[in-house]
Symmetry: C2
Subunit: 341 residues, 2 copies
Amino acid sequence: MSFRALTYATNGAPSAVVRLTQHAGLAAPSAGTANVKWLLSPVNPADVNVIQGVYPVKAKTKLGEEWVGGNEGVAQITHISASDASGLKEGDWVIPAVPQLGTWRGRANLPVDALVKVPESLGLLRAAGATVNPPTALLMLESFLPKDTERWVLQTTANSGVGEAVVQIAKRMGVKSVNFVRDPSKPFGDGKTVEQRLKDLGADEVLPYSALSDSATKKRLKGLGARLMLNALSGPDATNIAKLLGPQSNMVSYGAMSMQPLSLPTGLFIFNDLVSRGFWMHKWYERSERAEREALLSRIAELRLEEPAGRVVKVRQDTEVVKEIFEGGKTKTFLEFDDVD
Amino acid sequence: MSFRALTYATNGAPSAVVRLTQHAGLAAPSAGTANVKWLLSPVNPADVNVIQGVYPVKAKTKLGEEWVGGNEGVAQITHISASDASGLKEGDWVIPAVPQLGTWRGRANLPVDALVKVPESLGLLRAAGATVNPPTALLMLESFLPKDTERWVLQTTANSGVGEAVVQIAKRMGVKSVNFVRDPSKPFGDGKTVEQRLKDLGADEVLPYSALSDSATKKRLKGLGARLMLNALSGPDATNIAKLLGPQSNMVSYGAMSMQPLSLPTGLFIFNDLVSRGFWMHKWYERSERAEREALLSRIAELRLEEPAGRVVKVRQDTEVVKEIFEGGKTKTFLEFDDVD
């Protein structure tokens, strides 16, 4: 069965360089590989950065002469040797455990070591985004939150995929969250605002970055003695949130949406014992065994997080589909490739 | 025996607010205290910041209505109860183990818990500066240098008190050092340059910050894979040095001489596993017992570091002495108080 893919020959703006291509069906898998059908693949900001050529990890998968986009997705194993030792079998749902597999395609032949099984209880939408965002949230909270009796986490970009997972996982851990977003009153959908969405997910407070210029708010937040800040923003707003942390705190960065550096008064490090570090899910997968990866994803499934909000774009032969995907507004997009007869 | 002290009633420029005052002799020490004679006390940049009122720790010691300057120094115990349980005895050399004792004075009555014995083998100049700089250098190197086979440390402000101690202790640990200073060709004394002084102490490389704009130098230094940077500068030069670190590195800050924040690309944290933290000797003393403090200072004595370069100003009755101390150029100053008959 031939299949379609979203591919590109040169770096640039996705809507200009990405095109829909068609490819011959797969041969039977060789030893140590499996054939899969991709069921649903998200379009993440980092995917766009890879296509633009500005991400520190480059595309790794080619179809013919062109790169295949996409880092995440959920696939179903269609063909694997009965003697395969990985424990994977036909019909299993799998997600990537290594970066840049090129998930924006109907079918693929992949090394079994690059795949990790996920429970179907996750559902397609959650499974499609399970490689990066929820595990990032879970591991950051577990690894860097001091064991106080009353625990608070402060976070930037709370309406991002990681941000929504942080809100929900913190709630389940009994950790209170202060969540900063650009505009809490922005419509989210279903008549709700971003603030209402985050509160429904378990947020204790939702505040705009502009609240960081209000001295009464700052004083109140500093009084919480929060010892963990999760940062995917950087720039001046992140600096102002870091100043609200209590002594002996961790600031963990996993992004820099402001495209500005992380600038902190040196005194926060010396006198307040702040430790600033980063977290990258990519590295965790690199150093983990299959059993650890599967155990992590089982735990993610047990958390029963809300489905990510977004839209599914069916990728069929259509001259406008690339434009629809990359110029279709700010809602998170998931790709579903149709089968080619 | 009455004594003199350098005191001030209000915050401001030291040469404007500090004055030489005379005080009545000490009574016999009460239980849990000792009378001491200060032998030599340095004038550190942080002392000036305290007098200016811009340091996060405030002056803590008054004589009458005025604050006494000075955070470091070496004293000799002149009078202590024979039944004192601290292990200290008359004739012992002691240094402060708590901040802001007010060391710029001829004599003092002090709690024994605030004092820690130092070996006389340190000599007066080294003992006078033993509370902060050499232990800061030793503990930062020991605590935050990964255990590679070939180890490098990069440091700012290498000609500071801590910087010179880092050069020497690194050399003794078999760790190579790249040492940044404003101007390596600046005269140091004895016909030597700053570069020669640091090389004589064991520096492997001495470079001006301006070398950070040379791409060949940057490439060479990045190739070292250094995993520790010690920062007392911050600002753009510190940023440029941080970019030379290898993966999984520590950046430890203990000062910010540039008076600018520490600004780092977030990618260094996420993709290069940089951890940025601070070190403050003050906090180590706060959480340590007498036996730990004395063990640390014995180890400092055993390192036989070079004496700090500086000048000794004899503080006797002289209307110009305050001006001499605070406007006497950039050489490190040590104060020696004469006895008052």
